[in-house]
């Protein structure tokens, strides 16, 4: 399993949601990120699958409401360095 740092994870999310990395932090909510729409969610799902082998269902994706939820998912799968 490839491990990344939190900064790398934020960079990945910034690319997926087309948002400046500086605006993204653990407590930022999905609602405040315009690019975290249905297409942004699909982009994130593709990244997680290809880079970490994490297959996220649409329902699981929907339940993620903050950046911290994505970070927690990465951690849970051993993809986030401590």
């Amino acid at each position: 399993m490839q491990q990344i740092t939190t900064a790398d994870a934020i960079k990945m999310l910034a690319e997926a949601f087309d948002e400046p990395a500086a605006r993204l932090a653990a407590d930022v909510s999905r609602d405040s990120i315009p690019g975290w729409d249905s297409m942004g969610a699909l982009t994130l799902m593709a990244e997680l699958d290809e880079r970490f082998g994490i297959e996220l269902s649409a329902d699981e994706s929907k339940k993620m409401t903050h950046i911290r939820d994505v970070l927690a998912l990465l951690k849970q799968h051993g993809a986030l360095a401590a």
């Binding site: 997926a16 699909l42 996220l56 649409a58 329902d59």
Partner: protein, 254 residues
């Protein structure tokens, strides 16, 4: 044995025969008197298709990874050397991935082009060789998609591959008409198969339901596509070429 049926023992190459549409097409063609070369990667699945299609002498299992494009030509040549001249080719193998534009990196899109287009072109190139196809002509059928005609969010690469398939079939139809090789395509709508379920696994139940609702006759079954495929390939159908038949429950007429 099946000489009186429409295909009269003619051989048809069929890619993507392991499951879904390909499996249904194999069964339908055998029922209509064809002998079918079942091409795919998974032997066990191909053997299941062969068993479902019936008598063992009506099918030939051919393990081939279509992403290894260089292997296709030699494989088709050896099949023809062993089985005799071939009448038909169906390129049914396909790769579908739900990827928004932001995720459509070249390597991801390229893998869909490799299977959906380039592997089919390699099969076609090998099939039309004068020492492979029947001297009196033949028939080729490509499985396209309604997404060759209309767009859909998250389907940028897939739409591109299927649009390319339609354009290529028209060009091949013209090029091969003097040799009496017909080239046609089918554009299926949403058919519940392993591939559509895998490609749509990133979609929510509601998103799936919305796509299904766009089909006035509801979603399709593999057998619906298989019957249309047999019609397009039928040797007595000598005057249809360069055509695309929508098999989509009305999806495209709206």
């Amino acid at each position: 044995m099946s000489g009186s049926l429409p295909f009269a023992d003619r051989w048809v190459l069929l890619s993507g025969a392991s499951s879904g549409l390909g499996r249904a097409i194999a069964i339908e063609l055998v029922q209509r008197g064809a002998r079918v070369v079942l091409i795919g990667r998974r032997r066990e699945m191909l053997e299941q298709t062969a068993a479902l299609a019936g008598a063992g002498d009506r099918t030939d299992v051919c393990m081939l990874d279509l992403q290894k494009l260089d292997d296709i030509g030699p494989t088709v040549a050896s099949l023809a050397a062993r089985l005799g001249r071939l009448y038909g080719l169906v390129h049914c193998a396909g790769l579908a991935q739900t990827l928004p534009l932001a995720s459509s990196k070249p390597e991801r899109t390229r893998s869909m082009f490799d299977v959906n287009l380039f592997a089919g072109l390699e099969l076609a190139r090998s099939f039309v060789r004068r020492d492979v196809v029947e001297e009196t002509g033949g028939a080729m059928l490509w499985i396209a998609s309604v997404y060759a005609h209309v767009g859909a969010p998250g389907q940028v690469g897939y739409c591109a591959t299927k649009g390319a398939v339609l354009a290529a079939t028209r060009a091949m139809a013209l090029e091969l008409a003097p040799r009496r090789i017909r080239v046609n395509s089918l554009s299926p709508g949403l058919v519940q198969t392993e591939m559509t379920e895998a490609s749509g696994s990133r979609l929510s139940t509601e998103q799936w339901a919305r796509i299904a609702a766009l089909h006035p006759l509801g979603t399709g079954r593999p057998e619906d596509v298989a019957r249309a495929a047999a019609f397009m390939l039928d040797p007595s159908n000598t005057w249809i070429t360069g055509a695309d038949l929508a098999v989509d429950g009305g999806y495209l007429i709206q």
